[in-house]
Each structure stands twice: as structure tokens, then as C-alpha cells.
Amino acid sequence: MQSGFEYDVDIYDEEIPSEVFSFKESLRARFRELRHSVSLLKRSPLFIFGFFTIMFLVALAVFAPFITNFGPSEFAIDDILHVNYIKQPPGWRDKVTKQIAWSEINDLSTDFGIDPNLAVRSCIVDLNNDSLEDILVGTNSSQLLFYENIGSDDPVNPNKWTLSSTLTFPTIPENITGLVSPAAGDINNDSVTDVVIGGNDGKIYQTLNNGTPGSPEWTDFSLMYDIDGEELRYAGQAHPTLVDYNHDNQTDLVIGSSDYAIDVYLWEYDVFQRAWGFELQSNMPKDIKNRKLSLDGSYGSGGEWVDTPLGSGSVRVNFIHIKPDSVKYWDIAVIFDSGDYEFFTATDIVSNPNYVMLDKSKPSARFDFPIVEAEISFDFLFYDYIIDVSAGNITFETEVNQSEFIEGGENQTEIIKLSRLLEFKPGGTVVYSFQFLEEDGRVHYFGTDQQGGDIYSRCIWALQTDLILAIWVVAIAVVIGTIIGAIAGYFGGWIDQLIMRITDVFFAFPGLILAMAIAAALGRSMFNLSIALIAVWWAGYARIARGQVISEKSRLYVEAARAVGLGNSRIIFRHVLPNSIYPLLVAATLDLGGVVLTAAGLSFIGFGANPGDAELGRMIADGRDYFIKSPWLVFFPGFFIFLIVLAFNLIGDGIRDVMDPKLRR
């Protein structure tokens, strides 16, 4: 390689700085050689291909934030704790922005044809038992109107209501001169829906259906009494709501009235018993059963809760069960005559005594209606419908717990309860809208994995992880191996023997098995994996460095350096090593592919990356349960590993061809 060695410096001249003896001189000849090698490499198509593949992959890894739609660490609100944020692994599908969207507002005013001068109070019920939600509307001209649903249950084609002429109710009691507030439910447990109305006289009347849903036989309206025989009576307008409040499959009665009071009557022993009530007086949070209840107020600009006076008038309570019944939570909407409304998601319930704990300090306890504008004496209704998203391969959760995983062995079914909203505005306007699942338009180029993570993004982030790991491992292994090998080669003797025997021990194990044993001993983490890989690879570099140092140390410039009295470490690190670094660097380049392959293999059998981490081998392991039917879970990560290793091998092949003088001719 290098013929002759000229020194035209006087090595006994003390004025000459030690840099003269550094590697630069001997590198001049090598540099010529290097240029020649590069020109040879430029002609090797496989090398060029490998080089550009690596450049491409590195570019992907570097520009990962700009070319991926998901990750690196997305956030989702914890369903249970509400405020806690879980860091999701890269590529995890965003859980907050991709969620419910409200449909456009459909104006149903002409369908309902409500007199613009009337104020209404509505309730929703399937009165004729056709599994479509019908609507009862009470007006302030003492009317009770029944709107039958003649639409379909398809969420995209909205329900259609029309005023029913077939179903008539008994005459409204003459005490009621104003607003009739209807509620429907099975109050006598005969599986036929009955009707309860609250009048502006503050009393509650009931009518029972003794017939069938198809051909009803209504009894006359009669006053309702509580357990003591007292008639239910309130100061102003009473708004009854029938709901299975304590989840005992019996209909209970909740009454909101004009003194900001909400009373709950539970159906026990065949009679309504007042269980408890709470008063919603403005500026006066009530401590009910040791629970703070502050329903009046709003969030300030800083996100803090500010008590504000409510409007005057009566209170209506709508119960909707956004959470499935298995959870036994009720969510309630409280509507005031002023048009203010509050929505509360129950976060806790204790069966006896029954109360909802409304903790408004939690952000998700508040529910935003994107389309309900507060207007004086308007009324709105929510009701929910269920869709099963497990069939449609949609993974979906929202901030407001609208989804529920139903555990069914290994097959998880996910159902989502979405809401429909019917709004009765002043002036006879009725609008209807519904929620639907909205994809947010971000494309999954490689599909999604079993958790809903975007495989394309995960691959890119994992590529970054693996490349960094490989470079890190090889760099440290080269440094450690070189230092140890140089010491062995330079000093020789028993040090050399000892170090070489140690490397022999490391060479006595197959690489993956040694790395596996070390990784198992250290525990599962990426850091320990890299330590295991370094432990496997350093011995090879030690041997190369030793050989290089042995061949270099008899050179003239080492003699010269020793002659001027330089120390051993200076000779090794400033003179010998720089001259022998070239083959080490080549070997390191060749090993990068092998490191990626071994790291991925170890991750695959469960060392290194944790489940869900974006690491190529781990992704394959995670997708293994589903790969027969969904091969893309495994194909793309594996293909990325293949590309990385192939590119490094191509580069290595090219370099090896160029370095091999026999093949050079």
C-alpha cells in the first residue's frame, strides 16, 4: 500500500512541535488511496443503490416530524381520571380530535308545525312501541301533542316526526291553565308506557295506559301523592321526569320546579318515596349529603369556576345516559327558563343513598353543546343511539366517555353511544341534528394496527429509533474495542494474552444468544438492549485494533515518537490509532446492518422495547397475533428492517470489493 517513508525533519530539534509526528504525513499517501477507492466505489451500482437507500432512510428518520401524520408521542385524556394525560407511543391514533362531529342542523319546524306563540316542554318516549323515538310535547296553551316518528333509525337519514291523530290523551285537568310539562315512563310496572304531566299549578298528574301500546286505554288524569298521602305540590311550574334513577328497573320520578329545587322520588313499595332533593339557589352552593353541589356559574377565561347568578324561573332536568347502563351513571342536563343550561356528567354514584356526584372541577365533567344556543324558554332533548364500531374497524374514544368496551372474551366489541339533539326554540322553530363519527382525513398509508396506531408513522418513528440505536451501539463499541485492543496490541505480553482470552470468551457465544443472556440479566429496556449489543460487538473491534496497532507499532514514526520521549498513551492515541482508524471505520460501517438485525430480533422475542413502543422488531411482535389476516401489521416493519440492513450490506459489499486488492484488478 505504502512504499517508503520520508522524514525530512530533524527529530532532534526540540523546537519542532509534536504535531509533526502526527498522522498527517502518512495519511497523505493514504488519502491518495482513499480517493482512488471512492472513484472505484462510484462505479459500483450496488454501492450507489445502497448509499442512496441509506440516505433516503436517514432523511426519513430526520424529517420524521414533518412527514408523519401521527406521533411521536400523542396525548389522550385518561378515561377514568379525566385530568391525567397518558403518553401514547408514537403513531398512536389521536384520540381527541378524531371523534364525534355534529351533523348540520335540520330545520323540522314545518314537520312539527308548532304555533310560534307557544312555549313548549317536550319529552321523548317510544309510546307506540315501534322502537322509534316519539315525542310528547306540552304547550303553554294546555295542550299535549304526540308526534309520532315515521322516519327510520338510520342515523344518516334523520328521523321524521309527524303529529299523530290516532293517539289521543284524556282531557288535561282544568286546573292547568299554562304550560303542560309531560313525562313518560312505565310507572305502574305493567310494561306499558304511562304519562305524567306537571302543570303550572305546581301539581303532578298521572294517566295510566291500561291497554296496549297499539290501542291505548288511558285513565283520566289524577293527582299523584307521595308516601304520606300528601299530594305532590310545588310553588310554581313543576317539571316531572321519569327515569330509572337508581337502576333498579323501576321507574323513578324526578321533579324540577320553579324554586330551583330538584326532588327525586324513588319507586319503592309501590309508591313514590321522596329520596332526596337539592336546591339550586343562586350563589348558594348546597352541601347535599356532604357533597358540594354548585350548579350555578361558569368557567371563566382562565378556566376557573366562577359562580354566577342564574336566571329566574323553573328548572327542567333531562336525564340522558351517555354512559351505558352497566356503569350505572346518569348524566343530567339542567335547563333554566332563562335559557341557561348546565350539563353534568356523573362521575360517581353510590347506590344508597342515591346521589350523583357532580365534580365540576374536572374538565370532562362539562359537556359542550356545539349547537345549542341559550335562548329564553327554549327546550331541548337529547337521546342516544348506539352504534357498534367494532365491525367497521374504527377505534374510537372520546373525552366524554361516549364509548364503552364490552369485554367478551378475546373479542372485544366496542359500542358507542352517540346523541341526537332536538331543539325547540321560541317561535315554533324545531331543529334536529345528530352526532356521527368523523374521520379527520389523515391518511393511513400502511393501514392501522390492532390498537388503531398508524403503521406508516410508527414505522418512520421506529426507523429513527433503530438507526439511532445502531449508530450509538456501534460508536460506543468501536471506542471501547479500540481502546482495549490498542492497549493489548501496544503493550503485548501478558496484558495482550489476558485481553485476547477475554475476547475469546465473548467470541465463544453466538451473538444473538450472548446478547439475549445479557439483556435478560439486565432487564427489559432499550438502554439495556444497547448495553447487551455493545457487549457483543466490542470484542471484534478490539481484535481489529490490536492487529492494526501491532502492525503499526514497528513503524518508524512510532520509534521516532518514542525517541523524543513521548508517553505511551500519547503515542497510542495521537499517533498509532489515527493511523489505524480506517479499517475500524470500515468494519463499523459493515456492522451497522447486523446491529439493526440483532436488535430487531431481540425486540421480537421480548427484550428491549416494551409492547407498544415504536421499534421495528417490537411492532412485528405486537402484530404477530393478527398477522395471518392482517399481514400488513408485520410486513411493513419487517420491510423497513430489510431495507436498512440491505442498504448497509450493499455499502459494505462495495467497500469490501474496493478494499480487496485481488478483486480490484
Partner: protein, 370 residues
């Protein structure tokens, strides 16, 4: 240095290496966790602190590490590798290795045969047609073999087989790759063999199945049964073996190509050419014989290297061999099993490396030893 001296020197060097191997495996497996905890397990009957201390004292775990190590070494020399706790009831590690080794060996040898049968011809073609299309093709195939994650290849192979089976199912050919477990002789009620009376199961399924020949059947049925079993075993063996052989095949192709190219540059090839021999004769009579020696030698080395591959391949294909046992052992913190496996792998690896080196020197007397 003469060859004999070289052999002696290599054998002497084996001693410190084996010593180091045992030390390293001892250190590694003792770092995994509390040895007692792994044997007590997560069972509900919690063991008291006094009992733990008592056990620790009984097992000598309260001794300093060098005492423990020398004891371990003593047991090792008696062939006692401890008990694998991931078996229920625990089995001696050596016994487990004996039970499981045939499956791994069968897989490795079979895949080695595939690799040699495919890799060497590919290498020859590649060398003869250097820098032409077949050369590039075989080089790319070889490179893909070196670069392919073996577990990925295995999984993709399973996907392909699954879909091929679907196609076969629809096409009414009446053949499918088997989904069921391998048939064993235990599936048949008559284990007595016609040939040898009671032929003991060797654990090598190919051998076992062809020698099965149950006695209580008519002779043709008996042969047929054995044959069907053999085919079934072969069908089960082929996918993992193919997967495992991919890397070796690539290595052999490269090696053959390199040594063929080098041989073709030798003077005696030039002489043969000048004598006017046909290229065919030159390649197959003169060049190949010399060129194939290093490749075959490397094949011996790769048999131990296949152990690495079997860890992944056996995991992917649920093969009942050593590699899968080792992965399970690590998952179960089965210290003795980890120790045993690492030790066996290292011994096999070292010995086969040694064998290859010695063989190499024996075959090629030009190699000098300094």
C-alpha cells in the same frame, strides 16, 4: 509451527475459553434475579423470611460468589446443570437438552442441506457469469438473504402458506399444507415396529417416522402409514427449515462465488485453458474441486451459527427445540435453563469453530500458523 503443535495449542487455548464461558454464564444468570424467588414463583402461599433465609443457607446462596462459582463448576463437571423450573414438575436441564436437542438438530441439518443444495450452485453460476444478469440476480438474492430478518421471513412465509392453502382448497387438488401438529408415533395405538421390534424414539422425527412401521397392520398398510407420517413430518419441517436456510444459502453463495473467482485466476487454470480443455471441464473438473473446499468448511461452522437462527425460527414456528425453550426460560426467569442453554450454545459454537479451523489447516497445507 507444525500442524500438530497448532492443534495442541488450540486445544490448550480451549481451557481458558471454557473457563471464561462458564464464569460469564454464571455471572449473567445470577444477575437475572433472586434465584429463590424464581423457584418459589408467584404462588399464593407466601414463604416466610426465615424460610427464605433457611433455603438460602441450604442452597449455599449466602456464600461469597467465588464459593458459589466453584461449587457450580464442580456440579458442572459432574454434568449437573440444575433443574429447569419452567417445567412442571421441574426436569434436570441436561435431560431437557437431550429431549429437545434432536428437534433443533434436525431443523438445522435439514436447513443446512437446503442451503448447500441451493447456495453452491447459485455461487458457481454467479462466478461463471460474473457481472452479467445471472450474477446480479444471485448476488441480490444472496444479499437479501443476509439482510432479511429471519423472524419476518418466517411470518411472511406463514402468510403465503395460508393463502396458498386457501387456493389449494378451492382448486380441489386435494392437498394442503398441514395445520395440525406433527403426527407422532404416539398417535397410533400400536407402537411395535415390524423391523426392530420396539424401535426407540430417537427424537429425530424424520428417522422415527420412516422406521415406525407398526407391526399390527398388514405390511403394505404399515409401510404406507410410515410413509404418510414421513411426508407429514417433511411438510412440517420444510417451512422453518427453508426460513432458517435463507441466511446460510446467502453466505454459501457469496463464499462459493468469491473462491471460484479466485481459483479461476490461478495459473493451473490458465494452463488447462492453454491445453485447450473445454470451459465445462475446466470449471467442473479443475476449478470447482478446489473452490468448494472453503465453502464446505464454512458449512461446518454455520451449523453452530444456526443456533442463533433457531432461537428466532423456533419462536416463530413454535418448534419444540432448544431455542424456544431458551426464550421461554428467559421469560420465566428459569435460571438453570438460561445457564444451561447459554453454556451448550457456547460449547457447540466453540467446538465447531475449532473443528473448522483444524479441518481447514488439514485440507489446505499452505496455511501457515504463526
Amino acid at each position: 509451527m507444525k500442524y500438530k503443535e497448532y492443534v495442541v495449542k488450540r486445544l490448550i487455548l480451549l481451557i481458558p475459553v471454557m473457563f471464561g464461558v462458564s464464569l460469564l454464564s454464571f455471572v449473567l444468570s445470577n444477575a437475572v434475579g433472586d434465584p429463590i424467588a424464581s423457584y418459589v414463583g408467584q404462588s399464593d402461599d407466601k414463604i416466610s423470611e426465615e424460610r427464605m433465609a433457611q433455603l438460602r443457607h441450604q442452597l449455599g446462596l449466602d456464600q461469597p460468589w467465588y464459593v458459589q462459582y466453584s461449587r457450580y463448576l464442580g456440579r458442572l463437571l459432574q454434568g449437573d446443570l440444575g433443574e429447569s423450573a419452567s417445567y412442571n414438575p421441574p426436569l434436570p436441564v441436561l435431560e431437557v437438552i437431550v429431549i429437545r436437542f434432536p428437534a433443533t438438530a434436525e431443523l438445522s441439518v435439514f436447513s443446512l442441506i437446503i442451503a448447500i443444495l441451493v447456495g453452491i450452485p447459485l455461487g458457481i453460476i454467479s462466478a461463471i457469469k460474473k457481472d452479467k444478469v445471472p450474477d446480479h440476480m444471485s448476488r441480490i438474492a444472496a444479499l437479501s438473504g443476509v439482510s432479511m430478518p429471519i423472524f419476518w421471513l418466517g411470518l411472511m412465509l406463514q402468510v403465503v402458506l395460508f393463502n396458498v392453502n386457501n387456493v389449494l382448497d378451492n382448486s380441489a387438488i386435494g392437498f394442503q399444507f398441514p395445520y395440525h401438529e406433527r403426527w407422532t408415533r404416539n398417535d397410533y395405538p400400536q407402537p411395535t415396529s415390524i423391523l426392530f421390534g420396539m424401535v426407540p424414539a430417537s427424537g429425530f422425527m424424520l428417522l422415527d417416522s420412516i422406521l415406525f412401521l407398526p407391526a399390527d397392520f398388514p405390511i403394505l398398510d404399515s409401510v404406507n402409514t410410515s410413509f404418510l407420517m414421513f411426508i407429514d413430518v417433511l411438510l412440517h419441517l420444510f417451512p422453518p427449515a427453508f426460513c432458517l436456510s435463507w441466511l446460510q444459502m446467502a453466505l454459501f453463495t457469496r463464499m462459493t462465488r468469491m473462491s471460484m473467482l479466485e481459483t479461476m485466476r490461478q495459473d493451473y487454470i490458465l494452463l488447462a485453458k492453454s491445453k485447450g480443455l473445454t470451459e465445462r471441464i475446466i470449471i467442473y473438473r479443475h476449478a470447482l474441486r478446489n473452490a468448494i473446499i472453503p465453502t464446505l468448511t464454512v458449512a461446518g461452522l454455520s451449523l453452530a451459527g444456526l443456533l442463533t437462527g433457531t432461537v428466532l425460527t423456533e419462536t416463530v414456528f413454535s418448534w419444540p427445540g432448544l431455542g424456544r425453550w431458551a426464550v421461554n426460560a428467559v421469560a420465566n426467569l428459569d435460571l438453570a435453563a438460561i445457564q444451561g442453554f447459554v453454556l451448550v450454545a457456547a460449547i457447540l459454537y466453540v467446538l465447531s469453530n475449532l473443528g473448522v479451523d483444524l479441518l481447514y489447516g488439514f485440507i489446505d497445507p499452505r496455511i501457515r500458523y504463526d
